[in-house]
């Protein structure tokens, strides 16, 4: 009997099950058709702290717009609007 009690694990707080949020492509939803390379602030949403481009699986953008975003980011990097590599951007 005692063995059962000790094996029973009681959590202090309920385990928060990671609810699977349906990812969507923000460009299709917002109806944006063109990703501007001059707008650094908007492009920063697609970069991580090191300034690298976030993969589609995290941002959920469709392939068509991920290509446009990556091209815009590369152009912005060429024009020194965005850094190639940095630490603790944002």
């Amino acid at each position: 009997m005692a063995a059962n009690n000790s094996t029973e694990i009681r959590y202090l707080n309920p385990v928060s099950v990671e609810v699977k949020k349906k990812k969507y492509c923000r460009f299709k939803k917002a109806g944006i058709k063109y990703v501007d390379y001059k707008d650094g602030e908007f492009l920063k949403k697609f970069l991580n702290e090191q300034g690298k481009i976030l993969p589609r699986r995290l941002t959920g953008t469709s392939q068509k717009f991920q290509k446009k975003v990556s091209q815009a980011v590369k152009r912005a990097r060429h024009l020194a609007i965005l850094p190639f590599v940095t630490d603790l951007m944002k």
């Binding site: 063109y34 501007d36 390379y37 152009r75 024009l79 020194a80 190639f84 940095t86």
Partner: protein, 113 residues
């Protein structure tokens, strides 16, 4: 008749007069070669995200123009020859880019009023 947009960065060590002369020169390059300037924006002195040629700031200038394809080659050779320009980028505007640019122009025009 294509629509292009170009951005170039000039060295920060220029005086105002030199800068105006530089801008006039590139405006002339476009108009002489049969191009037509649609919109210009001077973003002024801005900090660069990384140093270019040991400089950390630069004068950004944005130009939108339309013209034949050959105009871009002459423009870019001018950019390469001029040592005051430290970086440039020209791009052909597709359908959506033109819409975006038009919207942006109206927004700026409205902002100035």
């Amino acid at each position: 008749m294509n629509y292009y947009e170009t951005v170039f960065i000039a060295t920060p060590v220029l005086s105002d007069a030199q800068l105006k002369e530089l801008l006039g020169k590139f405006r002339g390059v476009i108009t002489e070669n049969g191009g037509q300037i649609i919109n210009e924006e001077d973003w002024g002195l801005r900090k660069l995200a990384y140093p270019i040629q040991k400089k950390t700031t630069g004068f950004y200038y944005f130009l939108e123009f339309s013209g034949e394809a050959a105009i871009v080659d002459t423009l870019e050779t001018q950019y390469r020859r001029d040592e005051r320009i430290i970086r440039f980028l020209t791009m052909k505007q597709d359908k959506y880019a033109q819409e975006y640019a038009a919207k942006r122009r109206n927004k700026n025009a409205k902002k100035e009023e």
